[in-house]
Symmetry: C2
Subunit: 451 residues, 2 copies
Amino acid sequence: MTYKNIDAYLEAHLNESIAELSRLVAQPSVGAQDWGVKECAALVAEMLRRRGFRVEVMATEGAPVVFGERAGKSNKTLLFYNHYDVQPPEPLELWETPPFEPALRDGKLFGRGVSDDKGHLVSRLFALDALLAEYGELPCNVKFIIEGEEETSSTHLHDFIVQHKERLAADACIWEFGGVDHREVPMQYLGLRGICYVELSVETASSDVHSGIGGSIFPNAAWRLVWALSTLKGPDERIRIPGFYDRVKPPDERDYALMAALPDPAQEYKERYGVQRFLRGLEGGVDLSIAEVFEPTCTICGLTSGYQGEGSKTVQPARASAKVDFRLVPDQRPDEILRLLRAHLDAQGFTDVDITYLGGENPARTSPDEPFIHLVVEAAREVYGMPMQIVPITGGSGPLYPFVHDLGLPVATAGLGYPGTRAHAPNENIRLDLYLKHAKHVARIVSQFAT
Amino acid sequence: MTYKNIDAYLEAHLNESIAELSRLVAQPSVGAQDWGVKECAALVAEMLRRRGFRVEVMATEGAPVVFGERAGKSNKTLLFYNHYDVQPPEPLELWETPPFEPALRDGKLFGRGVSDDKGHLVSRLFALDALLAEYGELPCNVKFIIEGEEETSSTHLHDFIVQHKERLAADACIWEFGGVDHREVPMQYLGLRGICYVELSVETASSDVHSGIGGSIFPNAAWRLVWALSTLKGPDERIRIPGFYDRVKPPDERDYALMAALPDPAQEYKERYGVQRFLRGLEGGVDLSIAEVFEPTCTICGLTSGYQGEGSKTVQPARASAKVDFRLVPDQRPDEILRLLRAHLDAQGFTDVDITYLGGENPARTSPDEPFIHLVVEAAREVYGMPMQIVPITGGSGPLYPFVHDLGLPVATAGLGYPGTRAHAPNENIRLDLYLKHAKHVARIVSQFAT
């Protein structure tokens, strides 16, 4: 089978596809700020309908899920998982062009969500356009599940999947992201850590008070928060919540071999993020790679209390809060971590520290020995000049668990990301060459999967 | 001597004086935000000139000092210390009327700085107006030193006073504030704690990073800050910086007796600030009163790091900072505390935590046995229906030290404050009845001091 015509179609119509992506990126869809989410779902639904998909915008208790399906030639079914929501654009002052005004420069398209995840969605639709243009039909049945809460821990997706198991039935799944590493090698990420995201908050008085009065006799919300946080993890990086590590599975020999085959990330990380040293005395190599993804974490993502302006203000704050995320590894569970956290804070005397659960996901993995994984890995060879390299689990999180454990699917990654893509950061961008390659890769995956 | 005419003048001209005060409050002068400071100094200078003072707006390395003097009948000299700068008005949304649009309601004038300290200054000028109207001259020499950095730790005032010792020479000083307590008893505060205000900041990377990558292998600025802070003070409220308490003088018997004569503040504090409990197991009474002012403090006034918006954002912050104030008691010194703090952080492994010194002041006290104190305390009797009650030291800070130790002056407080005055908070206000009483009190102090 040759992909000459397919590739020619994609190369000829790239600008049109980028124009469609730009329209989608221009529609804000910031779930955390409840900004434009419904409008974006409607726009995505329309994009699928234009391509002959039967589409339903399905309500959840949170953002709606866009579901689309179109029958194809073979009776096999491929499910694509994508999301239309994006991260908050802040800090705005660091964007070179406004986050929701997509801008092309240096062979890249810039904008919030252009990589994570709108670019992935549109390049996949682009691949289907090429197959339809060539064959007049899709090689197999294709389904899309496109949610609007991925950036806020996919709060309602697990229930949604369990509820709509039959409709979502498929033989395999392509995940929302993927891409090349700094060597331009396409990577096959086979697992995701879970997450438990909480806000810890304390209120010690009904109003702030002059620090000359309150300092030595009134409880201070900021101090309560600092002390509570300092019981969660110490400078040795060991998480001190009793029971936290009980369900952690260490990497096995196969994992270790796959991780050892990866390039040492140390130098790249130092240059990209301006980090001087790594934690736990790590220098680099396989130990650094394994610590990055096989260790659970406790990360303070934000701190807020009292006066934050210029100069000094002598006030004792009545309120303080912290955003904290725990990345979880198999077989940890966010609801259990939440219970352990509450019990720990209570036991340490911090019954005054409230926990607001902002979302959680179970960790999950697909086996590297699945035939579908082999197919996706090999389909990359013609496009990228090499097969994909397999990574057993990656550091991020996502709602992988219900796809693997409720729908029973092998889940492969494929995508247009690259190390400079700046997902979640200012100046998020995609490279147009990788956008085109991803579309070519997807066209091959769908074609070969159908047979 | 009778004050019948003086009091009649003050009662007849109250509205005019409030109008003058309103014009001064409408001029923002937020030192921490470098907003309107010079304009306010010029306005204050003009107010003194109108009253026949020789005035000089004297440059410092920070905000200018307004100095004014006018000779009087006797050869004794009374120095008034005031300040024209105000606290930042934030949080703006809690003000019932805008902070720089003074508003009269319920017998009160609202606005930022109306109590702290513009109302004090204008009511004193009002008292001098009455004396000038009655006698055509001032009973004694009067000097004003009105600075613009009181709310930012009076950074340059100590040096200024040492430099201009002869010009500032006087026999006694009236401090910038004072007022009645919740029983309407006028209070004589005879000392101020010192302060050492710092910002602690950490930078661990050149940019924020997705928490799925950085969480287990990159240093997190927010964690570094939390751990560093948690070494400064524990939940037992004992400050853990070695040497911190070395120069602390406990209260003596005279202090204890004066403190024991004060009313129990416990109930009032619980109601006013919505505080459920006090620190160190204190219930109230003299122990609470003594802890409030004779203990040094370490107060977190603000915390800033990472994402602080709604919902969740999975980002590991590269920067974090805290505003921290230490209230100091005799004979602690801010420069020494700063050195001890640096040494402590270094010893605890926090060489990565930077300290920015935002200002400091030495603690200082005037003896309750000074004849001038007796004069001011007794001068209140006719106005308030009782003499002032003496408090040996109060919880706040101010640049008292150079007045007491460089100029060698007895320093008394007198003022228009009251417990609901909300200095440093939204809806700062003064009561017009207390404004009038303060002017009457000042007229008596000046007259009796002259003889």
